[in-house]
């Protein structure tokens, strides 16, 4: 059965290059990728629950606190749901996300690494 991944942008900045490339790579790797575009924390949580996804992908473009809030909300609503993040995330912000258990992919990350991570994370969540 295909695993399901939610892809959301936390900011209001509409650059779509990064998330599109990643979504396409994930689809090509056999995932069902549910796009929700720019979404607030509440919208991300509601979508993650309703869509019953195996993994949440956050495209982070703005201030790290906005992303951290979304991470906290997803983790509280669905503690077993893994999250990974990518985007223009400076080193200090990467560390904050990693501290919450996320795998983080800043610019320059390879798609194969992102797909590997998605496979690993959805495999783990299925085993739990």
């Amino acid at each position: 059965m295909p695993k399901r991944i939610l892809m959301a942008k936390t900011g209001l900045d509409g650059h779509w290059r990064g998330p599109t490339i990643v979504a396409r790579a994930l689809r090509d790797a056999g995932f069902e990728v549910i796009m929700i575009g720019m979404a607030t924390t509440a919208e991300i949580v509601a979508a993650a629950i309703d869509e019953d996804v195996d993994l949440v992908g956050l495209n982070v473009g703005g201030h790290i606190d906005v992303a951290l809030r979304a991470v906290d909300a997803v983790q509280s609503a669905a503690p077993d749901m893994p999250i990974f993040a990518g985007g223009t995330i400076p080193p200090h912000a990467c560390k904050q996300l990693q501290a919450k258990g996320l795998e983080v992919f800043p610019p320059g990350s390879m798609l194969t690494d992102i797909v590997d991570s998605a496979n690993r994370l959805t495999g783990l969540s299925a085993a739990q």
Binding site: T10, T20, I21
Partner: protein
């Protein structure tokens, strides 16, 4: 990167196969006749002016802004002090692009993002703070308003401040943006007026400037935003002129101002200066040639003040790497070289921290220094069109022109540039190219130093990105309340009512927008009128 075998195919970004070397025979004969034309003469591919940078150096023009209007003001002053020769106002994208005030639920949900990419300017009072002490009368100002629906507000705010300071609008020099590529292709916003309403806005701005601000560049098409979204150089050119044609046809249809004047207004454009030095320089040469031919053939416009395209360039932000950011100083310099070799009139160099954040003060200073070094030390400015006559450059210029016209025509057969945005056809093209480019890097076919090779995990020169200020949201919210409390409420409400009436009519939106700003109507209130009247553009992309 070097091919495995010297005889392997090497392609330019525009999908043009490159030979190992070129001779006179390679230059297409139709173009060969044009190689001896002097710079400053039609079709202008050899340059804007015969004495080029000797008579007029390019404008050092950096994107700048963050935080509160006073933070942005301080940064602009810093840049001017360091040698910038014009200034650009950046507006907070959360509020500006969507025409939201900071108390909009979408913004409240991301309050920490506010001010991260530009200052929050919700009323003419904020714009006045941002412009405080800046040389609006003697310097070339960019009022912001990069996104189409934001442009009328941003421009009217700038002009209202100028008027209040007693400047004569008819002498004010500067530029707007209202770029379709940014708005509908590169950086699709959450809410946006549909493309036909956007075209009407830009037509209104062009007409208004013709009448009241003859020295102002009303709209500026940014090929940059097409290219940095994935369009190849030939597609960047083809789509830019397809866009220009939409504006000019609209003006022609309205028949209220002379087409020559409108064409002059459209003839200030921006391109991306990317890292393939020769192809990019050729692109600038091709652009001038194409504009001149387009005006002559399609509109019978030959006036050299109109047909001579002026180009602003920004180095490619997406080419700046996250890893080993100091390498980006070199990339910035080389991309700037391509622009200068192409003979551009104005240039911005992306910060070395581009892949991490908006530029820090130091990154900004270095962007200016790169340009000063090129201008003062390298001899790049000594001779106009130094590449002219090169077998390779002339051939590639001619090939680019041909390929770009083919893309332009393909857009026409699909109903024109607006139709190609509405249908998502251009987005699909960009995505295809992005994917290809990514795959080339992924497969090792293309290298990025510090990313796919020459790794250096223990670089002592890591940087952590610029964070800006943390009080932009709070101050903006306070000021929003303040302006609503202290403005002449009835005047503001009446102006907004008039705005709604004008939006529903076919009258020019700009005079009433000036009234709105002068009556201290706020950005979000103007946005509410748009949303009510024009609805939302149906984005053809899925992210």
């Amino acid at each position: 990167m070097r091919p495995k075998d010297p005889q392997d195919t090497v392609q330019a970004c525009s999908d043009i196969p490159l030979k190992t070397y070129y001779t006179a025979e390679d230059i297409p004969s139709s173009h060969a006749q044009r190689t001896n034309i002097a710079p400053g003469e039609a079709p202008y591919h050899r340059g804007f002016h015969p004495s080029g940078y000797r008579s007029k150096p390019w404008r050092i023009f950096q994107l700048s802004g963050f935080g509160k209007p006073e933070d942005e003001n301080e940064r602009i002053k810093f840049l001017l002090k360091n040698g910038e020769t014009g200034f650009i106002m950046e507006h907070d994208r959360n509020t500006a692009d969507h025409c939201y005030n900071v108390d909009h639920p979408e913004v409240l949900a991301r309050r920490e993002d506010v001010g991260l990419t530009g200052a929050v300017m919700q009323s003419v009072r904020d714009t006045a703070i941002c412009l405080d002490g800046l040389p609006m009368d003697t310097s070339f100002g960019h009022a912001g308003g990069a996104v189409v629906q934001h442009a009328p507000f941003a421009l009217a705010a700038y002009w209202a401040v100028a008027k209040k300071r007693g400047y004569d609008l008819s002498k004010l020099a500067g530029t707007g943006q209202s770029d379709f590529n940014l708005t509908y292709l590169g950086c699709v916003t959450k809410q946006q007026i549909p493309t036909d309403a956007g075209l009407r806005f830009n037509g209104d701005i062009i007409e208004f400037c013709t009448e009241h601000l003859p020295r102002w560049v009303p709209v500026s098409i940014a090929g940059y935003n097409g290219a940095d979204t994935g369009l190849t150089p030939d597609q960047e050119l083809g789509s830019l002129f397809a866009n220009a044609v939409e504006y000019l046809d609209e003006i022609q249809l309205r028949g209220r101002i002379p087409l020559e004047v409108a064409a002059r207004g459209c003839g200030g454009v921006s391109f991306r200066a990317s890292i393939k030095i020769f192809e990019e320089a050729c692109k600038m040469r091709a652009a001038r040639l194409m504009w001149s031919d387009l005006l002559k053939q399609r509109y019978n416009i030959k006036d050299e003040r109109v047909a001579n395209l002026r180009i602003h360039c920004v180095t490619a932000g997406s080419k700046m790497a996250y890893q080993q950011p100091m390498n980006n100083l070199v990339r910035g310099a080389l991309m700037a070289v391509s622009a200068v070799l192409g003979g551009v009139q104005s240039l911005g160099v992306s910060g070395y921290d581009e892949a991490l954040s908006i530029p820090s003060e130091h990154a900004h200073q270095m962007s200016v220094r790169i340009q000063q070094i090129l201008m003062e030390e390298t001899g790049l400015t000594d001779v106009t069109d130094p590449l002219g006559g090169s077998y390779y450059v002339e051939t590639l210029t001619a090939q680019l022109v041909e390929k770009s016209w083919a893309f332009f025509e393909e857009i026409q057969t699909r109903g024109g540039y607006l139709a190609c945005l509405d249908s998502g056809w251009l987005h699909a093209k960009a995505e295809e190219n992005q994917h290809k480019e990514f795959m080339q890097t992924e497969s090792g076919e293309a290298n990025i130093v510090g990313v796919t090779m020459a790794h250096d995990d223990s670089s002592p020169f890591e940087i952590d990105g610029f964070i800006g200020t943390d009080d932009a949201f709070d101050v903006a919210l306070e000021r929003l309340k303040e302006v609503k409390r202290t403005r002449h409420e009835k005047g503001a409400k009446n102006a907004l009512k008039d705005l709604e009436r004008v939006c529903r009519s076919s009258d020019n939106i700009m005079p009433i927008m000036m009234d709105c700003l002068e009556a201290e109507a706020t950005l979000g209130e103007v946005g509410d009128v748009y949303r009510e009247v024009f609805g939302d553009w149906r984005t053809p992309i899925q992210c």
